[in-house]
Symmetry: C5
């Protein structure tokens, strides 16, 4: 199946706004996690169903749904919070392009969460994260249990930084910040490999071509996730909305700067790979020249000599040279002169 552009075929022909799960992972049972906090207290719980949800004014409510294949639950959450069906459709379609839509009453953000697989440092896992930020509440949606937000939750529990005293907008920022930090970590990790390849190019190691190809593919893949995320964050930082409090804006601008940095790094690495490929190709051509020079020198020196030897191997009745007393030695002298002359000629040409 295409990695870059996964199938939307399942939803073909459905009415817009119909919730059709498009993804790779199905869960037995979706998990609804609720965190509710203010500066003083914080409660974490797992909800059995949406009925158990109560929203207390004055507190920030963070509802996180793991598991998108049960579209009925997503639909119910949407109904409860008054979310437009198009947003919900995007939530359950995990091939969605990262984007930001301001629906007025709430802001809808989709990004890709990238992280290195725990069991294989060469594998990059990608998962779609949808955030809906409303006044005092934040909904997040993921396909699987397991994310990169452990440190954020830890900071909430320990009431570190401003997270517990700020609103849902700051919480959304904190989550996006973690996502972007992971982008940078991954770009950096790949970048080291790219720089290694760039230095290996002139050594013409056997696998250089394969490695260049692999890194190009990875960089394309990252770019596809990061570039639209950068746009979405840039919009968020410039958004004129009551949902984003003024003190959060500098953080969002800072985050946008980070996303820009990640994007630029990808562009730089892509250019380095293109340059590396060109240099490698040129090095291959240079090496071929060397090989051919060796062949040419060998062939050009010995072919005439072999011809001479062939001539005196002929069985003509009358070949006067054959009967000279020092004919054999004279011939050696001739052959050494010819061979030496050719060697000299090639040295002058700079081929030796």
């Amino acid at each position: 199946m295409a990695r870059f552009f996964r199938s939307k075929a399942a939803s073909l022909g459905r009415p817009p706004g119909a919730l059709v799960f498009i993804g790779e992972h199905r869960m037995d049972r979706p998990v609804l996690r609720l965190i509710s906090y203010d500066a003083a207290t914080m409660e974490e719980s797992e909800l059995a169903g949406l009925d158990a949800l109560t929203i207390e004014p004055g507190r920030v409510t963070w509802l996180n749904l793991y598991g998108l294949d049960d579209t009925a639950l997503t639909s119910a959450i949407g109904a409860r919070f008054g979310i437009h069906s198009l947003a919900l459709e995007d939530v359950v379609n995990t091939t969605q392009r990262p984007t930001l839509v301001d629906f007025g009453d709430y802001i809808f953000v989709v990004v890709k969460m990238l992280r290195v697989a725990d069991d294989d440092p060469d594998t990059i896992l990608s998962e779609q994260l949808s955030l809906i930020v409303g006044p005092g509440w934040l909904l997040t949606f993921q396909e699987r249990i397991g994310d990169v937000f452990g440190p954020v939750r830890e900071r909430m529990r320990k009431a570190q930084g401003r997270i517990r005293s700020a609103g849902a907008d700051y919480l959304a920022y904190a989550l996006l910040d973690t996502v972007v930090d992971n982008y940078i970590t991954i770009v950096e990790r790949l970048g080291e490999g790219v720089e290694d390849v760039d230095e290996a190019v002139l050594d013409e190691a056997d696998d250089v071509l394969e490695r260049i190809n692999d890194y190009k593919r990875e960089m394309n893949y990252l770019r596809k996730a990061i570039r639209p995320a950068r746009e979405a964050i840039g919009q968020l930082a410039k958004l004129d909305s009551d949902l984003v409090a003024d003190p959060t804006l500098p953080f969002l601008r800072d985050l946008y700067g980070l996303a820009v940095q990640a994007g630029e790094a990808i562009d730089t690495y892509r250019e380095m790979l293109t340059d590396a490929l060109n240099t490698y190709r040129t090095a291959v051509g240079t090496r071929l020249n060397e090989v051919m020079k060796v062949l040419t020198v060998f062939a050009a020196v010995f072919i005439p000599l072999t011809f001479i030897a062939g001539v005196y191997g002929m069985n003509f009745d009358y070949v006067p040279e054959l009967h000279l007393r020092y004919g054999y030695y004279i011939l050696w002298a001739v052959m050494i002169t010819v061979g030496g002359g050719l060697l000299l000629y090639f040295r002058r040409k700079g081929w030796l």
Copy 2:
């Protein structure tokens, strides 16, 4: 005939706005299909002629003309709905670039409808679809019977989603949405092929070059249809017109997002193909190096040995070595030493 830029020659020298059919398909008889609906009822009929058309206020009228070669009928429809002759000229010119023009009283949109041929999954069919959206009515024009709108009609019949309760603008959106969904399906299908090629490049399969070439051509072709369609949809989503109701706008913006995604995917695949070609070319160069190394080693090892053998095949009267008791064995020793030395030399150079 040129596929990318089909002939407009037929209309050369005609006054602007003159209706000249430029297309590939002629029908015996054009087909006029009328669908008229409101939230409560829906009627479908095939009209014998334009006279049979009545427009009921409060209902949405969708008039679909299949067959553009009878320009008189198109002209009559234009007269009935007050359409500018330039728009009608574009309707019957099926080489028209996708575009949107807001004529004030109605909006004129041209896109290309792409779909996979029913009988050959490798063939992509392209047909021009013109839409004219007015207050309460929608005109659509196609060259052939047969389209991708079956599911939309089905939704209308079953009154699924909001289609029956919304206006002509939403109907136009629903049709365009189907068109764009098909773009995505086709890009995705080609994309899988591109990704396969990208992985086959280092194996140097025989047909890689041909496949890269084919996919490039297909991608160019798709891009030519999709890029201007993206622009047109983007304009539509930003249009400040009474003809587009506010609730339709989020759907249009969502549609624009899809079109952008399709456009980006094409760009990504085109870059992948360019990269693949470069990698393939480099791989070909690398392979040539290997071939030449083999040739050079064979030639460089045996050519001197053959020369030596040739020397002792000469018929000089006096060649002292020939009469040595162990001359033949000594010579073998010399030849093995020379050959072995050369092999060693090439191994040191890394050619073996």
Copy 3:
């Protein structure tokens, strides 16, 4: 002489606004053609001189000058209609870049008129057309007699379309429309050739490289004429001037769309040619690989065998193998084994 950037040397050092003819064609006598029309009547005449010109209010006057080397006449026309000397300088300089300048009282447009030579369908003729549109009059200037406007004049004579009832602005549009239609015809004609080349690339026909080169040059040349013309027409369609009546604007916008389409087609064909060159180069490399594999297999199989034969052609007194009863047959067996083994080896490598 440079085709892309013809000499302006003649005017170096002259004061700006001085009329210096820069062109290729001189006429014995310039020709002044006058067409004057309103909805009711139309008069065509050839003027002996400018004195014979009378402008009747309420009619549209189209004055066409063929032959620019008599700068005095151009100057006189300029004086009569109050044209700025800079515009007149551009009129007689046929190397002028296509442009539009709004002088307030009149609009000055320069484009290149391209057409296929009557006697050689492979030759594209280019000529500069200057238009000056004032209230109720249109001046056009060309270097040579003969243009592409026959159909426009015919429409005027037959009073087809709206041309006779509209003003000078519509006439200017009609002429530009003909110019752009010719662009499209030419681009289309070249485009068919480009698509043919694109398909011939993998066959490695002998002249592919030359044809790619030729088409690139043609496309560059077209682009140089069409791109600035597109800009000029775009400006015209957006101009806020009393000289352009509102009903003419949709036609100009439509014309701009055509010019955009022509420009995009050129860009597409240029990309196709670049791709074709790359593919061709890769195909050449692939073919070289095949050639070298053949050479290598031949050389690598026979060179060792020849060496063996050479060994037993040596004249040593004592070579025991030579006296074996079946030595000759054994040697054949050895040689067949060696040769067969090498063939097997190369087949395994995939070179056969």
Copy 4:
């Protein structure tokens, strides 16, 4: 020394606005030339020092300084006319990028004056020209005596065109117009060479590569001078300043059009050179293929034949074929068959 980016090292660490001469040419004595004119009279003189300068109201004063190494004089001129120290710093730094700065009371323009060397038509000389336009006066600064403004002075003396009756702004325009005219002459001259190269590419003349390289370098160099000059002139044409009179504006816009044309021509020629290099590289590859085919055919035909001859040159006691009555003729038949078969084979492959 770097040609593209000459040393600013001399000024490192100096306070901004300090006058440090950075250039290549020192003069024994700077030369101050004064031209003062109105419509009626014109005076030319060479000033011994700044004290001799009197500015008469109602006349235009053009003060031209040749020789920038005497920074004291530049400084004095600056003081007399109230010029900002940053502008003066740029005047004496001849590595300055072409630019325009509007200081309110005066406009400061820096461009590069390019001209073909009198003694060598292949050498392009570049010199920095700084202009400061104030109300009724114009200061120009050059490193050397000798410029391209002879024709302008001549026009002033002869009172040709509007130059004597217009103000300092028109004079500045006239000088810049001469500068740009020279750009165009030089681009045109190089362009002819580029077009020649483009046509020589398929002939694979020996020096094509060198010529492409030379022209690329020249074009880069020109672009570096012309592109920022184009920007500066564009700003000038759009400037809303009392210093530029309305009647001068059309001339400046016309000049900007010329600069754009020169810039586009450079871009076109650069693309042509890139295309030419690619075509040449492909032609080289094609030629290599031909060479290798010749080698392969020769080698593949004769190597087996030589082997056969070698076999029957062996000295085995018992080789039955050697004693056949027509053995020698039979062998020739065999060899001709083998060789002819191989030739046929290669002809079928299309290598002959």
Copy 5:
């Protein structure tokens, strides 16, 4: 470790605004240098701690911190001057992308300070410089002792130029000006090398490929530092802030011009390197052709001759030519004719 994108891993998971030192250099003890001046007097001192700092109104205070690993001190400085924690976080993260943020009460600027290493002219050192400009004070932060600001301090001590009479904004400008001057010096130094390489390309010196590769990497590295600095300075020059006095603005615009010039020079050099690589690759291909022509001529001339000699070395009982009286001489004549004919053939083909 990756050079282009250094690790931010240490800060992963920390709350935004937490001060985590990310850098390469740790100091035993940070150094706090204070310079306080007005037009009349100037005091320089090294502060033991922040408590010793007093800010006198009417004087400009420049506080420079060397050593960022003691984040507590940075934090204390931030508290004293009311700096946002995000700015402080960036100060101690030396992998920060050059940027400008206007916090209203102060302006925060980060750039990279590049300079040539004292002990190795081929090594470019990069260090992050953070500037915070407030009303009457300037904070600067560096990782190491040692900078490029010696001349600025010297000018302050000698009260040269306007530095002592202007405010903190001008001081910040003076520092940035020194930074940009160093950019230009370094670009110029590399540029000379690039131009040398560009000229060495056609000589095919052995290390050309390596040098091109090295310069590309350096240029990428410079670009990464200079491009965002250019943006930041451009923003500064356009900033509408009370912190930047009007007389400072022309200096900032001039500085922006310099940064643009440096950026353009890098782009030009990068293009030159790309061109050089392409030319080199083509030259390698051309050289290969020459090598192969030599090989082909040698092989094609001697291989047939060797075959002929082989034929007459065969031991057939009956080979009539062998017994001809002048057979040997006739054969030489034949061989010379064949060889000469082939040489003639290759000369006609242009291979000799």
